[in-house]
Symmetry: D3
Subunit: 230 residues, 6 copies
Amino acid sequence: MQVEEYLRGDDRVLVPLGSTEQHGYLSLGVDAILAERVSLEAAEPEGVPVLPVLPFGLTPTFTAYPGTINLRIGTYLALVRDLLDSLRAQGFRRILLVNGHGGNQPAAGLAAEWVGENPDTQVRFHSWLVDPEVWGLAGSIASVSHASWVENFEAVRVDGVQVPAEPKALVDQQALAVANPARVRELMGDGPGGGAYQRPDEDTRRVWQAAVERLRQMLTFGWDGAGEGE
Amino acid sequence: MQVEEYLRGDDRVLVPLGSTEQHGYLSLGVDAILAERVSLEAAEPEGVPVLPVLPFGLTPTFTAYPGTINLRIGTYLALVRDLLDSLRAQGFRRILLVNGHGGNQPAAGLAAEWVGENPDTQVRFHSWLVDPEVWGLAGSIASVSHASWVENFEAVRVDGVQVPAEPKALVDQQALAVANPARVRELMGDGPGGGAYQRPDEDTRRVWQAAVERLRQMLTFGWDGAGEGE
Amino acid sequence: MQVEEYLRGDDRVLVPLGSTEQHGYLSLGVDAILAERVSLEAAEPEGVPVLPVLPFGLTPTFTAYPGTINLRIGTYLALVRDLLDSLRAQGFRRILLVNGHGGNQPAAGLAAEWVGENPDTQVRFHSWLVDPEVWGLAGSIASVSHASWVENFEAVRVDGVQVPAEPKALVDQQALAVANPARVRELMGDGPGGGAYQRPDEDTRRVWQAAVERLRQMLTFGWDGAGEGE
Amino acid sequence: MQVEEYLRGDDRVLVPLGSTEQHGYLSLGVDAILAERVSLEAAEPEGVPVLPVLPFGLTPTFTAYPGTINLRIGTYLALVRDLLDSLRAQGFRRILLVNGHGGNQPAAGLAAEWVGENPDTQVRFHSWLVDPEVWGLAGSIASVSHASWVENFEAVRVDGVQVPAEPKALVDQQALAVANPARVRELMGDGPGGGAYQRPDEDTRRVWQAAVERLRQMLTFGWDGAGEGE
Amino acid sequence: MQVEEYLRGDDRVLVPLGSTEQHGYLSLGVDAILAERVSLEAAEPEGVPVLPVLPFGLTPTFTAYPGTINLRIGTYLALVRDLLDSLRAQGFRRILLVNGHGGNQPAAGLAAEWVGENPDTQVRFHSWLVDPEVWGLAGSIASVSHASWVENFEAVRVDGVQVPAEPKALVDQQALAVANPARVRELMGDGPGGGAYQRPDEDTRRVWQAAVERLRQMLTFGWDGAGEGE
Amino acid sequence: MQVEEYLRGDDRVLVPLGSTEQHGYLSLGVDAILAERVSLEAAEPEGVPVLPVLPFGLTPTFTAYPGTINLRIGTYLALVRDLLDSLRAQGFRRILLVNGHGGNQPAAGLAAEWVGENPDTQVRFHSWLVDPEVWGLAGSIASVSHASWVENFEAVRVDGVQVPAEPKALVDQQALAVANPARVRELMGDGPGGGAYQRPDEDTRRVWQAAVERLRQMLTFGWDGAGEGE
């Protein structure tokens, strides 16, 4: 009932897109948990609703790691389409997909197609962490990669699991580019892409704050016909 | 990495299936939140892993209530199929779908088809609340329906929202059976199917305990070639 | 041309849904033949048209029995959707799916979705034999199951085939619930679910009459805005 | 159980493909009824099994005539594929599709694709009536077209319906080729494609006999590695 | 920008449909190259636009020949549908599919379905070479078949490849009809269906001229409500 | 027959991916023509085969410009999958997708999924022009964008069409990001993204040479287990 009331005054909504996949010593749910959290935190001041995170995504390269759930690309695009259709039917018109996993990128292509069919809507696809501003800041602190320190927030640590103290050598990107899942596992071993496994919380806190700020900007500015949100 | 270790000694897994839809004065996430919680609580003693809940399902009848997310049936079946395929590829062989929403029933049909194609697996579809034992117990306490007291657990109440003190008349089931979404909303008004909106916590606690017990039984007994789980 | 004339005065139609699958000593076509017959007999007094029966359905559990034809669930739902679309395009608005096979249940989910998209229609899914009233009556006569006496009507007997005189022990339902097709065949052996293979024709005649009556009621009452059919 | 026994000595099967669509003054089921009958009659001497006819097909051009059921082409091909898969899983290896409706032609393309994926099978697509031999014979008797005398067999006449005594002018084929459904109805009026509505039974009997003979030939000769059937 | 201007005065367009597949000693692209060329030449005098040829089609029977690209039938029909949808959205209303490969025939079925859904359009499917008039003329010159002299135009010869001087015996059509891809290759050997590999250019020139003329006729006459093109 | 011989000694192949869409004053076929040309030129020294370019792609944002052909994303991914399957069936194992259009990016996701299912293959997705090296070089010459000078090669100019002499202001990227097709057209006007419409041929020649070199590198180096191509 609150949704109906909200829609009388605003038409924005956040849709966090996650993944369930290996993240080295961190939770399998890193991409889902963080995408949902950053969305909730960014949306809170303006009271914009946030959908429950879609916890599964496209991660065909990590399927040799047990615990990784991989959707077929056709399934995933159908799913995102159904979410968009449901939101539009309710009255939402400005939809911000908050993506927490690189492999979900084809959802951006689907969103473009869907806007072509639903020209009264606006959809943006925003990868909250690898956004140039946020990722750039992180990279200026230390070398960044999948499941490295840059994703090692308290919320996604696993009880009783210790991460290695020494940084990991960076995984060979060119070899990864042509690797099948078994070879990916050979190359990535314990999971992360390389660099420090953990850094002081003040470093990750800076990254997090930058990400929340950036997402709030996205939510507020840049919509067509809107100087500010709402 | 814990998943890999677990799979050396066991091959069971729980997959909670939820929905995001109107639940009267309760959270839109009732079916998802409770299906995940009951799964975690039931699985805990034996250490069986639980997938993140699938928060969206089939709910075409409630689409006139904003906040309801409805997947197309083809999308949903593809999604459940992909989850099953991913789990099997990792080594899981006994999969318990813990369903929290009546409309998701076609997933049981998909599971039967999938077992036909993957005869080395066993899949059971268990609706944790409307299971005859659990629902029967609840019905023996008071009249039960969608979004009535029987789903009014603390975990799914919305801050600051009060439910009506008086019970609601039961909605006309025959009229519902032929109703389109707009007519469903007319018939169901504020959302629940009728009966008390809330009852003393000791009543819901009894229902919850029965549901957890029943789910533990499912997890432990009834698998082919297995007197007990594991 | 008769259809066009009929549509000027009525908008109801019956769609029998069958299956081609093992039925022990009875015809592979039991579910199709009976669903069509009961529809024709029920519809006759009011002149409501009956589609030719859809002879194939969802029966993944019986695929180890030669003669069983199993459609994929996606195919089946597409098929039912196309039938509904064709009927609506012609002018039918109240559609009664007369189901003769338990496995076809997902068609009910599809029908709910379809009504959401076509809110000017009403669709009901009625399993003519396992309807509580009819099945209850049969159960009060003797124990009932798949391919047992309760489906042993003259119309579906196979020339020159004798059924065993002694009742069959009931098949273990819990074992069936997790069985793959080969195991289903082990458990069910000659096919039926147990109980008497045949009973006096007066017993089956009572069941049939009750089923025809029940179906006529469905056809006449319970539609929105309609005290009676037409 | 008879199917299993049959498969020990033979691997042929007939699959009649029909349609439910306008046929002028004749039954909507002409294409289904006749395809099934001709199959049963042709198969009888050798005891080759015949699937129940698929009563619905591809008939997008006749949708402006109430009573016509049109499947989408994707649905239809999925359906034919599922039938082929089911038959192959049971042990059938030589499958004869007996087609009763011109619009179903894309099933021949699907069959070619399916044989490419299942190289241990042989599938033939045979249109029983418009086969050059049979259609040629009919044409030598009188001008032939859709729903004209050449389909006017006793089995598909409608009780109490009289056909016009005078032949109908042939419908303009070039105009039909670019016509949408409404225009098709304008052009075809009462339904048939032109020519006599009915002719003496001895004429249709000759056509029928030729069709049965031709189908028996198909069933017996022309399979790879087989001088004769079985 | 020229397209927009053209659409102010005309609404016709040509869509060449090709295939990439074995053609004996000729280019793998014969069906694509020729369909595009014949379209361009036919369309030139009236300035009707020609889409780039779709170079891939349905050719499941030739997959044992490396170099053959076979699309799944579902993919192909989706593709043709998308082309039709795109053309209609731009304003085209009379669409001529110029087919260069027999296996693409199911596209004609799709076109019929699509016109049913888009009744303001006209679509014709024309196989430029096996059209009775053109193929008949060729057959009157010499025996014709796949990849024989009748497709041996200069534009599709491969540099440095010589064709055999002697004609090839005709391949057994009845054996082909039930052959899987490996058997097709056994039967067809070096590729063509039989007859002369090459004939004097004046023979192929006559065929080509007839084909261009025929296609111009199709483009100009036979559209509904149009004595002439435009 | 040449393909078969080639496959005895090598297993690489190039698959150019194009698009048919507005390119301002240039040919609608820019992305297809150039992707095919750059592939042929790069492949020539090593004799690696090049598939005919796929002339249609994903371009939902340009559909308000007549002449633009947009495939649905599901269609496109099915198409790329079928190409990969056909190539693998023939014996190709190292496949280089040479992409000429930004919107086709989801094909990279499909390729990753496909490699997961076909782990004996390697697939790379290379956007020949916006590759950082090539695009960076171009950007160092002058400001670059869609349909600007950087795509203005002789091969894709339209006879008799003059491009404006003055550079175009850059189109507002933020506005584009939320624009529907009609708004995209408003923003982009005559088509290009801004900058010079044409530059001296020596500039485009430098870009082309760099692109050919880069593609040759991709073709030769970076494959798993291969210091060099072949």
